[in-house]
Amino acid sequence: MTLGEQPRPVRPTVVGTTPSMAGIDPILEALDPDRSRPADVVHSKGLTLSFGQKRILSDIHIPFRRGTITALIGPTGCGKSTFLRTINRMNDKVTGFRYEGDVTLEGASIWAPRQDLLSLRRRVGMLFQRPNPFPMSIRDNVVAGVKAHQIAKGKQLDVVAEERLRQVGLWDAVKDRLKDSPFRLSGGQQQLLCLARALAVGPEVLLLDEPTSSLDPISTELVEGLLRQLTPALTLIIVTHNLGQARRASDNTMFLYEGQLVEHGPTEELFERPKEARTEHYVTGRMG
């Protein structure tokens, strides 16, 4: 294959899926936008976290590969949500918050003095357990973050709003009521709106904290389908209580138990051939 014969997409698919190509064509390698970036977008390096005297997470080592979906499973109170909320530093303001170890985003510590908290949160988006639209119009909800980060303004905002609402499949349902309140939408539609809002600022990583726990099965399926479409452009980490969802929607799974990372690996492997007895107990429903 020579240059020009078959245009290669500017943004390659998941790094690592075409290892041979990089060796064959150094020019293409040079064009690769991810060339100098680490393959692991987010990397937890021995993270230990406590609130006051209470230790929540102990020595968590885990990398998150670019463009993958990682499911975070474990029984209630195991520290899943706390781990997730560490990555965009939502825990920092909790009284008694202390941490050891490090979490990196693109190789740089998220707590580095040069790391601006607001731009970290632009790069690491979040979707919550329940839809949380702002008290403003549907259109303004989508572009709220865009306005805050001054990414676009004026007429461009309408373009962004339409683009993102189309991306989450909400456009046709709301295009005639963009100026209406979001609180009249169904729960599933509200959650999609929040997804559109999170995507609008162009994050690299999306954290999802049980995003479908308050939704009906049809909306859940819709959201799960959307998540798959977001990769490989985005890296997703999803906390879920729903083992079926973890199995259906993720590439990798990590199992947390009492603040410790018991096991992590490709989802299929972890569910079919767990290495640890505790993992097996949990995924087979004997514990949880």
Partner: protein, 351 residues
């Protein structure tokens, strides 16, 4: 409204028909009286006011609302005029224009100053301070709401007014640009009695009630939308402005109206600090003036010397206008709330 209350009372009787004990019957009766008493009192007060004001309304006409005049006429004269069958002292002439304007101006100044301060204080109390600071501070603010208004008036005339007139007003008056609206703050700085001082004292009096109400509203905003804003990379200020405030907008308008109502009706503090003029508006922000409520309390004594009763009747008419303004402000606020809640979520609504 009366019919509605009666209907409710009747349906209540149906539900609880058949008392087992005498106490039950007594309790039922007492509850019914308690429900109707405030309504009856209000209707009674307004009716009496209207009856008393009737002669004044007939004689003074619509011009009363725009004219600025307060002349009791010859109270001790032996002859009286009869206008439309009403006995009126010779030379008596009244107009409430200046008083209506003064009431609206001073209340507007109070609200403009008090609302931002109250919202800021409420926000700091709920979002910025640890509990052990905000709780006693909140209690203190509520305590401030209970200070008798005459003390505010005394403090305004003895301390605040002279201080402002000596140290603050001259600087503002001399440096304010000569453009519309702002030129109202130019000119003679006065002696401390007047419009701006009254506005400030009133603001101080309504800050506690607006702050306490707004604080309760803020603490009811669910955390999830606020976290959503933070997670999106908004600053605390942006979260406050775009999420928290809009969430409780209608409630804040309600709290403002509560404060405005108090400012419009405040009597004794204004009577002390305003200068208690009756027939002229303040030439600038520092000028003396008068309000409807203050005029009633300061003029009641001399009005009772009018043997025809016409002066007292005129004061009743002032009271009636005051009531109409208060109710009008309330209704207008309700309209605003209706409009502004289109996008906001009702307070406490789960998301």
């Amino acid at each position: 409204m009366m019919a509605q209350v009666m209907r409710r009372a009747r349906s209540a009787r149906r539900i609880t028909a058949g008392f087992r004990t005498v106490e039950g019957a007594l309790w039922q009766g007492a509850a019914r009286v308690a429900v109707l008493l405030p309504l009856a009192a209000l209707l009674f007060a307004v009716t009496i006011l209207a009856i008393k004001a009737r002669p004044a309304i007939i004689v003074n006409g619509w011009g009363f609302l725009t004219r600025s005049k307060f002349d009791l006429g010859q109270s001790y004269a032996t002859t009286v005029n009869h206008i439309h069958g009403v006995a009126v002292p010779v030379g008596a002439s009244y107009g409430a224009g200046a008083l209506i304007a003064g009431t609206l101006e001073s209340s507007a100044i109070a609200v403009i100053i008090a609302v931002p301060i109250s919202i800021g204080a409420a926000f700091a109390l709920t979002e910025r301070m640890p509990r052990w600071v905000s709780q006693p501070l909140g209690f203190f603010i509520e305590l401030l709401a209970g200070v008798p208004s005459v003390l505010f008036g005394l403090w305004g005339i003895l301390t605040l007014g002279p201080f402002l007139a000596t140290h603050i007003y001259p600087t503002i008056a001399n440096n304010m640009p000569n453009v519309p609206v702002l030129d109202f703050f130019r000119g003679a700085a006065g002696h401390g009695e007047g419009l701006l001082t009254t506005g400030l004292v009133l603001a101080l009096m309504i800050v506690p009630i607006i702050t306490a109400t707004t604080r309760d509203l803020f603490s009811q905003v669910p955390p999830l939308p606020k976290e959503g804003g933070e997670a999106l990379g908004m600053t605390d200020w942006e979260v406050a402005r775009r999420v928290t405030l809009p969430w409780v907008r209608s409630g804040i308008i309600g709290a403002t109206v509560l404060g405005l109502g108090r400012a419009i009706g405040e009597t004794i503090a204004v009577a002390i600090v305003s200068g208690s003029l009756l027939a002229s508006v303040a030439p600038n922000a520092y000028g003396t003036f008068g309000t409807l409520a203050a005029a009633i309390v300061t003029q009641l004594d001399s009005a009772s010397t009018d043997g025809t009763g016409f002066a007292v009747s005129t004061l009743a008419e002032l009271g009636l206008i005051l009531a109409v303004i208060s109710v009008g402000v309330n209704l207008a606020a309700r309209l605003v709330i209706k409009r502004s809640t289109r996008l906001g979520a009702p307070v406490g609504r789960a998301t």
